[in-house]
Symmetry: C2
Subunit: 127 residues, 2 copies
């Protein structure tokens, strides 16, 4: 992976966002600075960043996958199936849980974001 590429700019965008973004959203932001950038370049840069472990990909149930910075401070997501609200939670139980799965299975777990679907408190009331 070489420096001074689109990848660095993508990393900066992801740092400033502190949120997950789709490739298209990243593309729209990048276009402001790199007017001629192509979506394929974005996808390829993201692929490299995921490969080196700097960025994670998650399927949050939408039509496109989302990308986010791999932070030292792991967090997870709850997605409401009704209103599609997404909340972030941090919970040390998750890593304890993943550790125990690792031990039992022998797999070295790479999932660093758990995405759980459910119905949020507000939508439960609406029923």
């Amino acid at each position: 992976m070489r420096t001074s590429s689109i990848s660095n700019a993508i990393l900066k965008v992801l740092e400033s966002q502190d949120d997950h973004l789709t490739a298209k959203e990243i593309y729209e932001i990048m276009k402001k600075t790199f007017t001629a950038v192509d979506t394929s370049t974005i996808y390829r840069a993201l692929e490299r960043l995921v490969h080196v472990g700097k960025v994670s990909v998650s399927d949050m149930g939408g039509t496109a996958v989302v990308y986010e910075l791999v932070s030292k401070n792991p967090h997870h997501h709850l997605v409401c199936e009704k209103c599609h609200k997404q909340i972030t939670f941090r919970n040390e139980k998750v890593s304890d849980f993943l550790d125990s799965i690792e031990k039992e299975s022998g797999f070295q777990i790479t999932t660093n974001h758990l995405v759980l679907f459910g119905i949020c408190p507000e939508c439960q009331k609406k029923k």
Copy 2:
């Protein structure tokens, strides 16, 4: 949802398989009996089955999403990122874990399959 539709046949296929299948795989099987069935019909039937809670959808990291019967006996999947081997595991820790997330968040968790990615023991050795 009306009876005697494709949905019933899909349920039978899923029962007999005890494995997850892509829409395309289901389509190929269905074509043997319903020669003129269309993929759109399969997708629509699956959508209904998911909606009524008889079938679950999961993203196992492949290009297509997979469908499987919602069984009383919940199970989960580990997917190897290197060799794409998929193993199924049952673990009561998962439901304990999900219960605790439910209590903390107030979300009513609907995720019934956990898909965790990692590197399987064999691929770890190959390193």
